[in-house]
Amino acid sequence: MQDSVPEVGEEDLTASRRRVLVDGAGIAVAALGFGFVYGLSARQAGFSPIEAIAMSVIVFGGAAQFAAVGYVASGLAWPGVVLLTALLNARHLLYSVALGPWLRDVPFVRRAVMAHLLTDESFALAIGHFRRLRRTDEWGYWVGAIVSTFIPWNVATAAGVLLGGQIPDPNRFGIDIIFPSAMIGLAVGLITGRRELVAAFVGAGVAVVVALLSSPAIGIVVGGVIGPAVGLLVPAALARETAPLGTLASADRFLMPGSHVPPPPDDADDAGAPR
């Protein structure tokens, strides 16, 4: 794909693919755990099994799906759900931009399918693999996207939503605390600087106040819109950003908590991507 960059040997390809499998196995385990928790939360919020599973297949975005459970439970109107989903998933834009040069020679239809499977996890696995090889290897993308993430996430969702319906009096087992705990834990994973910290605190505070004055649904939207705006008031020099959005470090932070993708070699930075 890239004439100016030497091809890697078969052993290097095998080693890098093996690393994708090992890293992907950790991500698959995490996806199984969180997919199951999502299924339980969706069931608790009143989703039918078909609705919960459809959301995992069609949307295929963990944080947005967890958030949607909360939106629906709080009675937020669909336009609000869609707006917040768009904002929450907008980070994928930067992942697709980063991967675009690597995948430009892949046939259009396959790229269109790849796009649906682009998550924090698949991005991190694929870009790390490509950068180690210094060229594209589609195999790495498909394994990271389908085997490590899509299949476990959807299987676990089905298990969670189906088994969740069998649990009598689920609040006795603390099922109701799983959703807010998952939300705050995911938020912790996204805080990579002072701006995010301010946005989170302001978003939460504003949301609670507005929720008490109007309704929980409105509070969540207002907090989610005002929090980031206030966070932007923190000067960039003071932000101490450690993982700017769209970078591998950011993808690693966005990964399902508990999983981790080791960084690629130091000399294989973004500048190595084919242009």
């Binding site: 078909i50 629906v72 605390i177 700017p244």
Partner: protein, 114 residues
Amino acid sequence: MSTELVVLAVLMFLVTYPTRAVGLLAPGMERLPRQALDYLQLVGPAVLAALAAVSVMVATDDAGTPSFHVGVEWIALLACLAVTAWRRNLLLGLIASVAIVVVARATGVSPLPG
């Protein structure tokens, strides 16, 4: 079995897919102002924190009237936050959170939510 939310899933897909596809299918269309990118970076923490806070601090009665709620759920949430930040592992945080609530409810320290 209800299928109404499948339509919502499709709508969520329609706003998610373009952000995933634009860089792969239409190179050069991805330019966004720096301020917009910065704002998007902050949306996740703000929305997720808002959801968590409202879930444990705001209760609604049958008429939908919101009221301020104080309970063991606060402690559970803080425990999850602390464990997740400390161990960088949300699964451990969730286990700690659920354990606190289960014990509190089993011992009668905290009532089951209505």
